[in-house]
Structure formats: C-alpha cells, structure tokens
Amino acid sequence: MPMSRMNSPAVGMDDDGVAGHALSDFLLHLENYNPSIPDSVVAHYLNMSGFESQDPRLIRLIAIAAQKFLSDIANDALQHCKMRTSSQINQNSKNPKGSKEKKYVMTMEDLVPALQEYGITARKPHYFV
C-alpha cells in the first residue's frame, strides 16, 4: 500500500518508488537485526511526541536510523581526533618505546566540527558559575 501511494504522483518519485520497494523488504529483514537501543525506550520517546505504533518493526527502523546517525557523527569525530593526534605524534617523533597504544578520547573539540558538517551548532559553556 505505501508503494502504490508513493508511485501515483508522477514527477520525481521513481527513486522513492524503488526505495519504498527496497524498504518494505528491509522491514521484513529487520526482524533479524536488533538495535542497540531497547524498543521500550524508543517507543516511550516516540509516544511522548504523539507517535504510537503497534508494529515493532517500525520502531526498530527508527532506532537503527538513529544509531546510524550517531555512528556517522562518531566516525567524523574520530577522523578529527586522529588528525589531531597524528599531528601531535609527528611533533613528538623521537619515541624509543615504539608504537604505544593510541587511546582516543572523544572531546568537544572533535565533536563540534563533526556536528557542524551536519548542520548542528553546539555551543557549550566551559564551566558553570
């Protein structure tokens, strides 16, 4: 049914028709993949905004989309972090111990530019008075 509704308006809906087709299959496959976020928590936040669905697959779809969104941001922040630490390691190149373990810490310095690319401007105060 969603496929037919999407296919009926004519202009520029071909991609969506294909996507709708793929996603209805995806929804069937989705039952095998469990998202990291529990269903009840996601359902609660959706209910708070008025979205009530009896279909758990829909909830899982939203959960996985959110997870992917977060992991994309995290990947970008990791890139920033690696760029920063690699530049520091190049400065401290005389290191007789060999390759030490690199521990990546996610800080606001990496997160803010990563969010900037997604259009989210995060400005946090450094301290609270």
Partner: protein, 272 residues
C-alpha cells in the same frame, strides 16, 4: 506533589541513562576508548531530539493523509524531511560487531495494601453500568447504630430517676461521714459504728429563714458568711477543736463583743 515530581524525574532519568549507555555503545563500536562527559551528554541530547523530531514529523504526515496510525511511508517521509539518508541502513544493520543492550526491567507497580479494606464490597445493583469502578467498603456508606435506643416509657424513667437519686444520696452521705466531722451518738471516742455528719450551727440561727435567696451572686459574700458561720468564740470550749476555723482561736472577749456588733451589721447572706 514533590514526590510525584521526583518519581517522574527518576523514570525519565532511567530512560536517559539507557540512552547514555546506547550512545556509549555506539562510540565504543566506532573505536573510541573514552569520552568527555560533556560530549556524551551532547550526543544523548541529540539522540533524544532525534526521536522526538521523527515522532512529531511522522505523526504530522500520518494525520495529513487522514489516518490515525502511522505507516512506513510516514516514517520515510519524516526521514527525508530531516535529511537522513536511508541508503546505507541495511549494511549498517548487518555490521558484524554490534552490541545489544538489555531492555530495562519493569519495576512492579506498588499495590495499595489490602489490609485497609474492611468487609466485603457489595455487588453493584443491576442499574449501574459495569464499566464504573466498584463500590467502596460497606462501612463507608452504610450506617449501623452503635448503641441501643434509650427507654422512653414514663414508668421506667421515673423509676430510674428515683433509684439514681437514692444511690447518689447514699454515696454522698457515706463520703461525708468518712471525710468531714462527725457527731457521736454514744459516749465513746472511736466512731466507726454509726457516724453522724456533724451539724454546723450558724449564728444567728434564724437569719437564713428570714432572708430567702435562691442564687449566689457574690462568692466573696458567701465566703464571708461562711467565716461568720464558723466562728468559735461563742461556742462551748469542748467544741472549739472540731470547728475548721484557723485564726480565731486566740481572740479574747472584748474582741468578741466588737466583732459581734460588726457581724450583725455585716451584709447577710444565707448559708446554702
């Protein structure tokens, strides 16, 4: 009310903490070893806003097309609206190293203790619809008298009043015989056999008959009169010890005659 606010906050805190855990899981999968608290909180806030926004937009699209239950198409449209691509979703879902968080335990709702109910609740009458709540405990609306109705027959009341009066008199006379002064019929010292309540003569004795009053208006006057009644100067000496006067035992006769005249002019009040 603060308790209710605290409970609501703790419930949202629990969910918020789970979101925190989920964000940390994602960061771990990405390759981070640790994160700043500020950064973690920012990402949790972003996640919560994501859910709220998707829910709002999907509900809007669903209602726009005249439906009540959202469908896959509504969710897709809201993703498109927010600029979230759906292309790589399946590959992402099938990634090898994924952790799943345990769903939170549901705390059992506190039941009101059954010990507060007394008696069995009555069945609702047939004219009451079944979807209304059950009737309360019967003692809440049924009144049972706790005492017998008093007897209202004239004879019984009359008899009761007479016997009460007799009992009261007997008890009072016994009490006075034991506590106040007593006369002795016989010429012995101990007086356990037949005590008589001592009669306290007033001076002058005819005064109460001449001046009738039925109410005491001034208690000072009454006290004064009582003092007058207990004067021991005119009594025979063997009765002086029995009177309950405190200060008058040392007066001589001249003082007595003076006080006599004063007392006759004193404002009279009867001894009740």
């Amino acid at each position: 009310m603060s308790e209710a606010a605290e409970k609501v906050e703790s419930a949202s805190d629990a969910r918020r903490r789970i979101l925190n855990i989920a964000v940390s899981t994602v960061l771990l999968e990405t390759g981070f070893d640790s994160a700043d608290k500020v950064a973690l909180e920012t990402l949790t806030e972003i996640l919560q806003c994501f859910f709220t926004e998707v829910g709002n937009a999907a509900k809007g699209y669903c209602e726009l097309s005249g439906r009540v239950e959202p469908v896959l198409g509504d969710v897709i449209m809201s993703f498109v609206n927010m600029g979230i691509s759906i292309q790589g979703l399946e590959q992402y879902a099938a990634r090898p190293n994924r952790h799943v968080i345990q769903p939170p335990q549901q705390a059992p709702a506190p039941r009101t203790p059954a010990m507060l109910s007394a008696g069995s609740k009555a069945k609702p009458a047939p004219h009451i619809p079944f979807h209304l709540p059950p009737l309360p405990d019967p003692h809440a609306y049924i009144r049972t008298p706790t005492h017998k109705q008093p007897v209202t027959e004239y004879e019984a009341i009359r008899e009761k009043a007479a016997s009460q009066k007799r009992d009261i008199e007997k008890a009072l006379t016994k009490f006075l015989a034991k506590t106040s002064e007593t006369h002795n019929l016989f010429n012995t010292d101990d007086n356990q056999v037949y005590p008589l309540i001592a009669c306290k003569p007033t001076f002058p004795a005819y005064l109460t008959c001449l001046l009738p009053t039925d109410q005491v208006f001034d208690f000072d006057e009454l006290e004064y009169h009582f003092q007058v009644a207990n004067r021991t100067e005119d009594m025979p000496p063997d009765k002086k010890d029995n009177s309950d006067n405190e200060g008058d035992n040392g007066n001589d006769d001249t003082a007595n005659s003076q006080t006599d005249t004063q007392d006759s002019q004193a404002p009279p009040s009867p001894k009740t």
